[in-house]
Symmetry: C2
Subunit: 238 residues, 2 copies
């Protein structure tokens, strides 16, 4: 079992937090817009830039070539939109909800189709119960096969915005996947594993035999509306 404690109260820059203003703005731009200038203006108004996504323009407006979605910390959506609207190349700037406000924390489930689907059943059903009480928890999955493919996906969870816990749902996982699990734990993301063959269960933060229960426990481990602490459960098997 991993002996490393999680960083205490791991912050997430993209999630609502008391005392911190978050904002999101969607900006439709023409070719002459300068991404660096847009960022500098937001920063000048006190924003930390926490996310940017770029999309192709699909609404057929004349000359609009890209959509930039910015998420900010320390500056609200309406103000961010007002600031950007005046800049060269900006056709339109709309205040939005942040993705964290809508989709919240993410439980990530990776593994084989059969097990992923069952873990999901538990996780979605449990997330529903917490979302009804004001939480926002999403359950996001990918079904994959192969040691290298799964190890790469486990490593990439560290780069997924708002990923707070990983469930590994398979029958045999070890080798490179086990190394990837340890790397992920080092950045503060706990890992729940099904009871399976291979060395992954020996490094997982929690091992659960029943996939529906594994999904449920993953959700309550990250829900502010639950009292379950993965710290206290570390290394246990159910």
């Amino acid at each position: 079992m991993s002996g490393k404690p999680l960083p205490p109260d791991l912050p997430d820059l993209q999630l609502p937090e008391p005392g911190t203003q978050l904002g999101a703005v969607s900006v439709r731009v023409r070719r002459e817009a300068d991404l660096g200038q847009l960022i500098a203006k937001l920063q000048g108004a006190g924003a930390e830039i926490v996310a940017i996504n770029t999309f192709p323009a699909t609404r057929h407006e004349p000359d609009v070539v890209r959509v930039f979605d910015f998420e900010t910390r320390g500056l609200g959506s309406a103000k961010a939109a007002t600031i950007l609207r005046k800049l060269p190349g900006v056709a339109r700037a709309e205040a939005r909800a942040t993705l964290g406000q809508i989709f919240g924390k993410r439980v990530i489930v990776i593994g084989g189709g059969a097990q992923v689907a069952q873990v999901n059943l538990g996780a979605v059903t449990e997330a529903d119960r917490h979302n009804l009480r004001g939480e926002r928890i999403s359950v996001d999955t990918i079904a994959l096969v192969g040691e290298k493919e799964i190890a790469n996906a486990v490593r990439a969870v560290a780069d997924l915005p708002r990923a707070h816990i990983l469930v590994l749902a398979g029958s045999l996982m070890g080798g490179e996947i086990t190394k990837a699990v340890q790397e992920l734990q080092e950045v503060g993301i706990p890992v729940v594993a099904l009871n399976m063959a291979g060395s992954v269960p020996s490094v997982a933060d929690l091992v659960v035999s029943d996939p529906v229960q594994a999904g449920t426990m993953a959700v309550i481990a990250i829900a502010d509306t639950a009292r379950f602490s993965i710290e206290r459960q570390r290394g246990r098997r159910y």
Copy 2:
């Protein structure tokens, strides 16, 4: 039924595409690092910036305060890392896989826990079959209740990177949700609905009574490894 055709071959800047180089780099920075300068350097080397995510530094390196993940188009990961490594405030720059290379296209499922879980069962199982043949399809969900909450989530799907199709999994959806569905269709994201009460089925691109079948059809509608065309199915009910 929505008569609007999708924009033909809707591009996605964050997904692999023949002839286009994608890159990702994770940069661990000290306080003096300047996000604008990092971006300008990548752009100077020919990159379009397609995504940036900012994370708190959780690996306890001295003076490292933030992690910036950049995704680029027109510049590979290794080159991006080499360029950024030399800049002031950069403690470390690592080449990564892009999130699109790992997690691929996303099917988004929104609705009630019971139905979302069943749609997931179909979607994850079907995605597994395509991922085995070289596709990358993720199935991402949120269980929510309330017209306003669901409508806001539907609108936010337009801002989710790599979201290619939405499944609405509920028993009654209309009003503001129906408007949100139409807005989402306008940006080129098709919507599958369960056969349910309310006006959502009348505007959905496809209505499917069985939730497992709805999840399966959503996956084959976006898989390059399948021959199902939502264009040809538009307005049908199963």
